[in-house]
Every structure is written in structure tokens, then in C-alpha cells.
Symmetry: C2
Subunit: 396 residues, 2 copies
């Protein structure tokens, strides 16, 4: 479309310190994959590892693998692999269940820690819906009420009645990045607890749950962490809350002595308290294997590339797409931007279908949003330029 | 040990209509695997299917697989594969989450259907512990109280305060089969709802949840259903309860229009209402593939072989093991026996370790129980005879 921008893309790709990571992924087709914010691409080494898990660990060792292959301790072990990616201490993250189920654990846990005199849960009104639905249930089952507010209204609404606040770090639809440090500090100043949903930020930018004193956090692992379809989610409970974390789902895996088969519940210490039932080992070990791509990768480098990619994509869209056909829903300010660009567009559903046919895979969110996710480990600047070019060609 | 019993085993194996099923499993070592009641053996065709799921569906189709590979509808589709194995109607079983999480959904759902004037939940005191722990939480969060009773005391304890009853169909420790038809009828006569845990019965004997009017049921899929380590559990909600099933975990997957991304929750119709978050696709599709071994298998034939196997094992134990060294904890009456034999034995932990070294794999449950699970699809009568012989040799 423009030799200048194509040349700029080539130069940026040549200078990209993360460029070599792309070879770690099965991306051999001629597709520009900008949907890693929905389902991360397959790391190339995962199929061989899973063949070993299935054929040898399950098929040959069978029951012995719970101990000999480390299945039993996988939820904490993999939690410790995720911990540095979100700035958490060792022993504070556990993997298992879905994000929705973890939102329930975290929010009920937070409300119980906040005490009975605090009866309000504030939730981000633009949240990914499941968080809102589950928060309603958590409120109903703990005798609290929900107030849904725009993220920018939350700080002003905090008060002595606030028990807990549930916010998305990055909004799934707009790609807006909420100010986790400032909001967490304000929530604490009001005496409440902060529960962050990291689904759209973990693996794309530094989170710093530890540094900012986040109380609870949850996130999925199948987006920027590339764990595979529906791979298990994780729960972070701040170290000094662990001993008082009173889970609403006290399954036997969280017991202090699970094989004691005791009829009275006594919670285990540490991250294990966030476990519930028997973990989905196949999905969990695919995730563990997938996390190998992070070896030696700096999350600050990921963030720098993510911002450069989304900046460059917006620049190409501005240059290529006829004026007035799309407008960015994603904040221009770096401090307010995650790792995706959302463009509002007429007939967005049809446009995305046509774009996918042209080999540019993003997704569509009703009613009018085209989402393009930029996964710094495998998306390059030439990809961004081509995506903008194909979009322009379609809309021209 | 005894030529007569060895000969009898050979004759029974020769006449076994399910004998050919064993070849469907990866059981090529010289091990007698009697722990399929904990982790079912690997069906031989599963690794190739999973390679396709991982390398092609995830690796190549990526996000398109949610639709094109049928990932999105897997929980209901696989539910419909399990339904006939437990005697449920199509559209009443959904797969996902762990058994513990499903106990929570089922018990809270049952209590809410029972109404506010019924404030007691009765639970089987010898239950697998997680059911009891989760029931305590369900009671606490719905303002009910728990009464834990021996299964045989439950019918006598039913009354106008009983909201719901949670019982294990087969006791994990003793292998006792509870009388599902009679107990369910008594629970209904008292105006309460019956929630059955089928972990140790589904795939080993006919359950008949539909025929007996069971209200809710849950079960795991990694024991007699061979779905793989930690494969997702299932939830059964009786058809005429579905429209009023008020789940405590209303995740976005259970919404009537999940991709509408609506901020207000509106539950979908049918089995889908039991879903929560994004399903663990790898574990789920391994389960789906594993269920192929049931094609053409009659669950009545499975039950007949199961009883013959456990009878024969008990006969061999009686014949081989020195008197007084073990005693059966499992009821002798067929109507009260699941598909395992539990033997109480001194130093049971050490004995089981030694038995495993001799190639007979069962498991140990504190304080004194040796468990031997008989999976009719792949365990034969010669296996039972050999297991008893090795046990006798050890204890001699």
C-alpha cells in the first residue's frame, strides 16, 4: 500500500529483539493471526510433550503418574511459572478451574475478608460479562449488593460500605487499560479489597500484583499465555491473606491432608487453598509446556513491542483506510492501552468475515467492533502493515 | 495357586462377551490393573485423536475451531454421549468443571428448588470427603444446615425440613452400592430433592437416573469412563427441573446469548445452564474420544461381568489368602456391591506397595483398606485370580 510504511515495518521487524520468538509457534500458514487475545497460537513443542503425557504418563504409568509424573502438584508448580509473569511472589498463584469459577472464589474470599459491616461490591460495568454475572451470584450468596460503575467512576464511589471491587485490568472490548496501581491504592485507602481480572493483560504487559498490593487476581491462560483452548485459569491470593482466605469451594484438593479423607474440612496452607477438585491434567500440562516460550523473555520488552505494534497498526490504518470508515475505540494514550486495537466500523461482522477470508484473523464483538490482538511473541510489524492494508482494501 | 481356580478363570474369560474390549486399551505390560476406579486406562486410539486436536484444530485452525471443530458445543455433545450410560435423556447432561464444582451447582440448585421453608441438607456421612466439604459450603451460603448420616439412616431422617439429600451411589471406600431407586423414592415422598454422586457407579453398572426420577446427579469421567487424568465431570439436571435450575455459578457459557455479551444474566435453556466458563477443550475432547469404547457395549453386560469378577476375586481370596489376614469391607450381596472389592488388612499401605511391585495395581485408603477396582471392559478373570494369588503370596 505504501512503500514507506512497508519499509518501516521491515526495519522495525529487523530491530525487534523478540522476533526470534515467532519460530517457537506453529504459524506456518500465510495468515496474520491477530486473535491471540482470544486463543493464543500453538507453541511448536507442545504436541510432542502431550504425546508423552498421554501415551506414557497416562497410558503406561497410569495411576502412578499422580506422584511420579508430578500431576498432583501441577496446580502450584504451574502457578509458580505464571507468578513472575504477573509480578506475584512464589507460592501465591494456583492454576485450575475456569476464570468464572475463580472470580467466584476470589470475590467471595474478598468479601469475607472485608467483614460483615461492608455490604457493597463494586464492579466494572463494562466488564467481560461473566465477571458481572458471577459477582451477582457472589453478592446474593454473601448478602451483599452489587453496584456496577464505569471504571473511571469507581474510585469516587468507594466508601465505608465497600467490601470489594472487581475490575478488569484491560477491557476485553475496547482494549482500555485500567490504572491498577492507582485504583488498588484508592480501594485500600477506603478499607476495601481489590480483585483484578487479568485475562487481557497477563502476558502482554507488566501487572505487578505484588508490587501494587493487589488482594486477589484471576486470569485465563489461553490468550497471551498460549495455554490452549480453555486451558485452566489461575487464582492469585496475596501472601498475607492466604491464611484467612475462606473459599466458597472447599474441595478435597484444598484440604491440609487430602488423602487423609477426613470428614471435617481443614484448609491447607498457601496457594493450595485455592484448589477445588481433581485438576484437568491434560489441559494443565499443555499449559505448562506452553509456558516454556517465556524462558528468557522480559515482560518489559513484551510491553514495549506491544505498544510499538499497536501504534504502528494505528498509523497504518490512519494512512490506508479511507477517512471516516473506522474509528479507534482503543485509547491513544499508552498508559490506557492494552495489547489490542479495537476499531468501530459499520457492518463490522461482515467486514471481519471478509478480512478472515483474506488471511487476516481478528474477531468481531457486537455490535460494531473489529478486534485486533497483538501478541508480541509472534506478531510482527509487517503483519500489522498487511492487516491494515487488507482492511483498507476491503473498505475501499 | 490352584489349578481349579486358574482353569475356571480361563473358562470364564473364554466365555466373556466383553473380552474383546480389552484390546481397545493400552494395556500391553504385564500388569493387572485394578485401579480403574481411580484412573481408567488409556483407550488406544486417544493419542492419535489428541494429536489431531492439538496440531490441527488448535495449531492450524486456531480460533476457527470453536465453531468449525465443534469446540463450543462439546459440553452438551459429550453430555449426550454420557447420558445413555447413566440412563439419562438426551439434553439433560452437560460436561465441564470438576465433580466438586458440580456438587456445588447441584446442591445449591436443589436447595433453591426445594424452597425456603426446608432448611436441612442431609449428606451421606461416609461420603467421599469433597462432597461433604462442598455441601457444608452450599449450606452456609444458602442459610441451610447439614446433617451427616450413615446412608442407611437417611430415609428415617427425612422430613418436612429436608430440602435435599446428597448421597454417593457407590461408596468410594467400601464399594457399597446404595439403593438409588428406593432412596430417591423416599426422598421424593418427603418432598425433598435427591442429588446423587455417580463417580463410582457410572460406567460400572446401570444407574437409571431418568427411570428413577433422580433430580440432580454429578459424576467424574476419569474412573470407569476412562476420560483421562482429571477429565471434566458432568452434571445431570432432570428435564422438568431445567427451566427452574437456578445455578450459583452463572458464567457466560450458560447465558442464553453468550456472544451477545449482555451485562444482564439470562440463563440458556436446557443442559447448557449447567455450564460456567470456557471449557477445558483438550481434556474434554480426550474424554469424548475415550467414550468411543462404549459403542455397542451394553451396560447390563458390564454389570453382569462386574459382579462375576468381584465374586470370583472374593472366591480366590478366600481360597488363597491365609485365614484371618484380610476381611472384605465390601458387601457380599450383589444388590449392595459396586464394582470394587475393598479388603481390610493390617499394614495395608505396605501391602499395597509390595503388591504394586509384583505387578498388581490397586490402591490404599487409610487406615487399613486395600481397594481393587474391577473395570469390566478390560479386566479379566485371570487377572482376578492372579491378583488374589499375589496377595496371598505376600501375606503368607
Amino acid at each position: 500500500m505504501s512503500e514507506a510504511l512497508a519499509g518501516q515495518a521491515a526495519a522495525l521487524d529487523a530491530a525487534d529483539e523478540l522476533a526470534a520468538c515467532r519460530a517457537l509457534f506453529a504459524l506456518d500458514d500465510d495468515v496474520v493471526y491477530l486473535d491471540g487475545n482470544s486463543l493464543g497460537a500453538l507453541p511448536r513443542h507442545v504436541p510432542a510433550r502431550m504425546q508423552d503425557v498421554i501415551a506414557r504418563e497416562w497410558g503406561q504409568l497410569r495411576i502412578r503418574s499422580w506422584e511420579e509424573s508430578g500431576w498432583w502438584t501441577a496446580p502450584e508448580r504451574i502457578g509458580d511459572r505464571i507468578a513472575p509473569l504477573v509480578g506475584a511472589d512464589r507460592g501465591t498463584v494456583v492454576v485450575g478451574d475456569s476464570t468464572s469459577v475463580n472470580v467466584f472464589k476470589a470475590l467471595v474470599g474478598a468479601v469475607r475478608l472485608a467483614g460483615d459491616d461492608r455490604d457493597e461490591i463494586l464492579v466494572d460495568a463494562s466488564t467481560f460479562p461473566t465477571d458481572g454475572y458471577v459477582a451477582e451470584s457472589a453478592a446474593r450468596m454473601t448478602g451483599r449488593r452489587i453496584r456496577a460503575l464505569a471504571p473511571q467512576e469507581i474510585v469516587g464511589a468507594l466508601g465505608p460500605r465497600t467490601a470489594a471491587v472487581l475490575v478488569n485490568h484491560v477491557d476485553y472490548r475496547s482494549g482500555r487499560l485500567n490504572d491498577l496501581p492507582a485504583m488498588t491504592a484508592a480501594i485500600h485507602a477506603a478499607g476495601a479489597l481489590a480483585v483484578w481480572d487479568l485475562c487481557h493483560s497477563a502476558g502482554a504487559l507488566p501487572v505487578g500484583v505484588g508490587a501494587h498490593g493487589v488482594d486477589f487476581a484471576v486470569g485465563c491462560t489461553y490468550k497471551y499465555l498460549n495455554g490452549g483452548p480453555g486451558s485452566p485459569a489461575y487464582l492469585y491470593v496475596r501472601g498475607d491473606h492466604q491464611a484467612r482466605f475462606d473459599t466458597p469451594l472447599p474441595g478435597w484438593n484444598s484440604h491440609e491432608d487430602p488423602f487423609g479423607m477426613r470428614s471435617a474440612y481443614a484448609p491447607g496452607d498457601g496457594a493450595v487453598r485455592g484448589r477445588v477438585g481433581t485438576p484437568d491434567i491434560l489441559s494443565m500440562l499443555a499449559l505448562e509446556s506452553a509456558l516454556d516460550v517465556w524462558d528468557g523473555v522480559s515482560i518489559d520488552a513484551v510491553r514495549a513491542k506491544s505498544l510499538a505494534l499497536t501504534d504502528f497498526f494505528l498509523e497504518c490504518v490512519e494512512a490506508y483506510v479511507p477517512a471516516g470508515r473506522v474509528s479507534s475505540v482503543t485509547p491513544a494514550a499508552h498508559a490506557e492501552r492494552g495489547s489490542q486495537v479495537s476499531l468501530s466500523c459499520e457492518k463490522a461482522g461482515e467486514v471481519m468475515r471478509a478480512l478472515i477470508e483474506r488471511g487476516v484473523v481478528g474477531d468481531y464483538r457486537r455490535p460494531d467492533v473489529l478486534r485486533f490482538g497483538f501478541t508480541p511473541l509472534y506478531v510482527g510489524f509487517a503483519d500489522a502493515e498487511r492487516a491494515a492494508g487488507e482492511l483498507a482494501a476491503l473498505l475501499d
